[in-house]
């Protein structure tokens, strides 16, 4: 298993797609920073307009923590889409180039091979999230500095700088779990579909549908709790003023279970399927 993992890691490091993904993430961050730099104050004014009639504001809310929160919002669509395209490509490229058949001619077990793909996809996702977190921290704090965070989730919540930082860090961890789930789903789609462009379409559709289903009420609180589209926003629940830690923990555990189910399903299907 270890040589397989090593080989997969080398492939990721050597393929240009990996750097396109990192470049795309940096580009998203830079765009957010640029928009915030030039229009941030206007956007905040718009948000706080109705309050300005009744309150004085001392200090600034346009700071590194707000930028971090805005960057976190790219976890809804942009980042998972980029990641799913890259990770599904780990397998679809092998189908397209015919390298899969070459690998299978060696003394490699199919189950181990696909498990290595899943493990590497998880490592890649975590690495990208860590990269995203570190680069955003560095850029946002260097340009905008520290400060209180303002977030609207049901109520207008204000968090002091240190508390905001703590919640942002936890959100990146929770967001990473959601991204891992998406990427495992991406590889599973690749197992079923084999062709890269079709897999990308299905991955994008999966993201859109998941985002749409997030607001759907299934009529039962239990179903709502267990339904996976309701779990992918767990990172945002960390910005509710009084955090429901049990909900956060159970949502993340459920997402891990969903991811494990996807891995088992994908491995089973890949094992049974003809590689041709």
């Amino acid at each position: 298993m270890m040589p397989l993992l090593y080989a997969e890691l080398v492939k990721i490091i050597k393929q240009s797609k990996t750097y396109y993904a990192l470049g795309a993430i940096v580009l998203i961050e830079l765009l957010i920073l640029l928009i915030a730099y030039y229009q941030g104050s206007t956007i905040l004014d718009l948000l706080l307009d109705s309050l300005k009639q009744s309150f004085y504001f001392e200090g600034t809310l346009l700071n590194g923590n707000l930028i971090m929160y805005i960057v976190l919002n790219s976890l809804w669509f942009n980042v998972p889409l980029i990641l799913m395209i890259i990770t599904s490509g780990f397998l679809t490229d092998e189908y397209k180039d015919g390298t899969l058949q070459t690998v299978m001619l060696q003394a490699v077990k199919k189950k181990q091979f696909i498990l290595a793909k899943y493990v590497v996809a998880i490592l890649f996702t975590v690495a990208v999230m860590a990269f995203m977190m570190l680069t955003t921290f560095a850029l946002a704090y260097a340009i905008f500095g520290k400060g209180d965070l303002i977030v609207y989730i049901g109520t207008l919540n204000f968090f002091e700088s240190d508390e905001a930082f703590r919640r942002i860090c936890l959100s990146f961890i929770s967001g990473a779990i959601a991204m891992v789930f998406y990427n495992i789903a991406g590889i599973t789609f690749a197992i079923f579909i084999k062709e890269s462009s079709k897999t990308w379409i299905v991955a994008a559709l999966f993201l859109v549908v998941t985002n749409l289903l997030l607001k759907v009420d299934l009529g039962s609180s239990k179903l709502n709790t267990l339904f996976f589209p309701k779990l992918v926003d767990t990172w945002q629940q960390l910005f509710v003023y009084e955090v429901d830690w049990i909900r956060i923990l159970s949502n993340n555990v459920l997402l891990v279970l969903y991811s494990m189910f996807m891995i088992i399903l994908g491995t089973y299907v890949f094992d049974k399927k003809d590689i041709g």
């Binding site: 109705s50 009744s54 004085y56 400060g147 609207y152 207008l156 204000f158 997030l214 926003d233």
Partner: protein
């Protein structure tokens, strides 16, 4: 002769009406407040507004006679525009008349109730109802009605009998509901339109503990 007496009476009553005297107890309170040339202090405050969640904050305040209260903080702070003038300087800024409204018991204290009505159109104050502790010569509560910024109520507590400035102030004010553009809302934020309409105007409260006073008197 009768006509002459009537004219004299008319002139006397007109003079009485136009030169209405200001309540002596209020003048005593004003004199006590006016003795404060400037002060600075630290305010620790908790904002209680139904749709805003904010941690306890602190700010430095400074006041100089004839000027508006100044606030500064290293943190982000949000303070109501009205209701922070516990030096009462805005009430006494322009000429006014007073109307006595009797005595009212509040928290075991017998308080003199007065209406303060500005006679100068420049004043933003429409009317203030003051609850005065005449024994300690200070205002314990005031209900302020402004021309532009609505109404608010200030309740003050003092650390000792001799203090001019309060060590605890609670300001209650009306606030319009928050209008958040949709694209600022969290993705799974539920919008209850009926509830939103019900809560068109809300009451907010700010509780302030004031400490580390540095007062300069005449």
């Amino acid at each position: 002769m009768n006509r002459f007496v009537f004219v004299l009476f008319f002139l006397w009553s007109a003079k009485a009406a136009f030169t209405q005297e200001i309540d002596a107890d209020l003048l005593a309170v004003k004199k006590k407040i006016d003795a404060v040339q400037q002060f600075s202090a630290t305010v620790i405050f908790d904002l209680e507004v139904p749709f805003i969640r904010m941690p306890t904050k602190s700010a430095k305040i400074s006041y100089a006679r004839g000027e508006k209260m100044q606030f500064s903080s290293s943190d982000f702070v949000m303070l109501p525009k009205r209701g922070l003038d516990f030096s009462m300087s805005e009430i006494f800024e322009y000429p006014f008349i007073t109307v006595e409204r009797g005595i009212k018991k509040k928290d075991g204290l017998l308080l003199k109730v007065l209406n303060v009505i500005p006679t100068d159109t420049r004043s933003d104050l429409a009317m203030a109802t003051l609850y005065m502790d005449t024994k300690a010569n200070r205002i314990v509560e005031s209900e302020i009605n402004t021309r532009k910024d609505g109404s608010y109520v200030l309740s003050m507590q003092y650390a000792s009998e001799r203090d001019i400035l309060p060590n605890y102030v609670e300001t209650t004010f009306a606030i319009e509901r928050l209008k958040i553009p949709f694209n600022f809302m969290g993705k799974d934020t539920q919008i209850d339109r009926k509830k939103m309409k019900e809560t068109e105007t809300k009451t907010g409260k700010i509780k302030m503990q004031i400490k580390d006073y540095s007062v300069k008197k005449d």
